[in-house]
Subunit: 238 residues, 2 copies
Amino acid sequence: MMDNKASHKCATCPTRHKTEWRDLTIQELAVVEQAKHAREYVPGEVLFHQGDNSDGVYCVQEGLVGARYIDVDGHSVLLRLSSAGTTVGYRAFLAKQPHGSSAEVLSPSFICFIEGAALSRLLVSNPQVGERFLEHVVKDIGDTENLYARSLTSSIKARFLHAIMVFYKQQGYRDESGNPTVKLPLKRSDIAEMIGAQPESISRLVRSLQTEGLMQFEGRKVFISNMDAVLLELGVTM
Amino acid sequence: MMDNKASHKCATCPTRHKTEWRDLTIQELAVVEQAKHAREYVPGEVLFHQGDNSDGVYCVQEGLVGARYIDVDGHSVLLRLSSAGTTVGYRAFLAKQPHGSSAEVLSPSFICFIEGAALSRLLVSNPQVGERFLEHVVKDIGDTENLYARSLTSSIKARFLHAIMVFYKQQGYRDESGNPTVKLPLKRSDIAEMIGAQPESISRLVRSLQTEGLMQFEGRKVFISNMDAVLLELGVTM
DNA sequence: CGTCTGGTTGATCTAGATCAACAGGAGTGG
DNA sequence: CCACTCCTGTTGATCTAGATCAACCAGACG
């Protein structure tokens, strides 16, 4: 799954064009290269904990990382998922504040840590980097507001369907017989934590979606058998 | 309520120290002064609509403005309130994107509009301005994530109590007899839209909070008669 | 006066939580 | 190789927070 990990260079990183480093010069890239520590991570590993101080940022080259927030009563929520090409933990770094949530590796990943000192230098030397981060935070807040509004107005069913469609848009494909298909990257209980439900409710929902004929489930594989009906349920445009 | 509106100057603005303009030079302040259009607004007026392009930012000098988001199914949600000293609509401007929500005046307000062109110039001439906006967006996303997590994990009752406590922390006072008191700045249905409830549920909640002895309500006035119990219900630290 | 808006109350219904049991791997260790 | 435990997921029975529908009331206001 993971190839020649030791020899990864930013200059040849396949996901760099998606990142905040996309328009660095060769020299600047060398700075990042010096300040970076890359390695594989297995599910369950934690990049940083809620409340930790930030000492740099993490760049997901491959895999999936979740932002988990634990509230005062111990309730856990998955706020956001970050996949390949996404920088994680940048917000606390920019704001010089403790991390508001922890970052947990959810699937086998290859991740580069970039030291804060180098990043600080980059931010002053190349204003484009700051702009990229601004873009990122603006996108994040937009996403979060959408989810928030959705959580206030729509049912668990709608939120579950929406989550599946988001996964489908990212990683969906058509199987041999042409059916729209996704492999869910999370276990049921994590999906439940994303949409604010109990795992039992997800189970029941899965069953009723199958009998309704909207989608079929095989473990983590989802076959969307009636796409029109799904989109209709979500208000067409999503 | 509103005093000598016509003569308001940024230089003497009582809330400037809270804003992104807090560390401008006199010259820079003059630039803002030139590019600003100040006036009173009455409840119901809309500063901009969701989907509009941004042509500047609004600085709330007095009053209250709500960010209202309407989703694809027509559900309305109050995402955020902005009171005196808060800049509104800056996100769309910075991101050069359409506004993600509309801004609606909720109580009699005095608001300055600042033209985008001038702001753009300021942003390049004084890097501190950009930093202030970055701080602002980071604070906003933190707030939103908190609300989001809360919406996924806690009951309407807890969310309602939390909202009241937020108002209390901002504008609370002690009445003649020393009771912690707040005047709610919103009508019931708007409060309902903030926490994702129906107005009827708010009514019933109000009644049960009174019989429980947690708080007493008189129209929009709230007397928090048992603060300890309220804090306990919210997990003490909030 | 009628009409509107904001708020309250009642009766009813249901989505989803909760509690509890159970089933199928996947290790792990003797 | 079997016994045991851990983990993920499923199902059943029950309960309840909160939505929904409908009526109603008090001010405000032209």
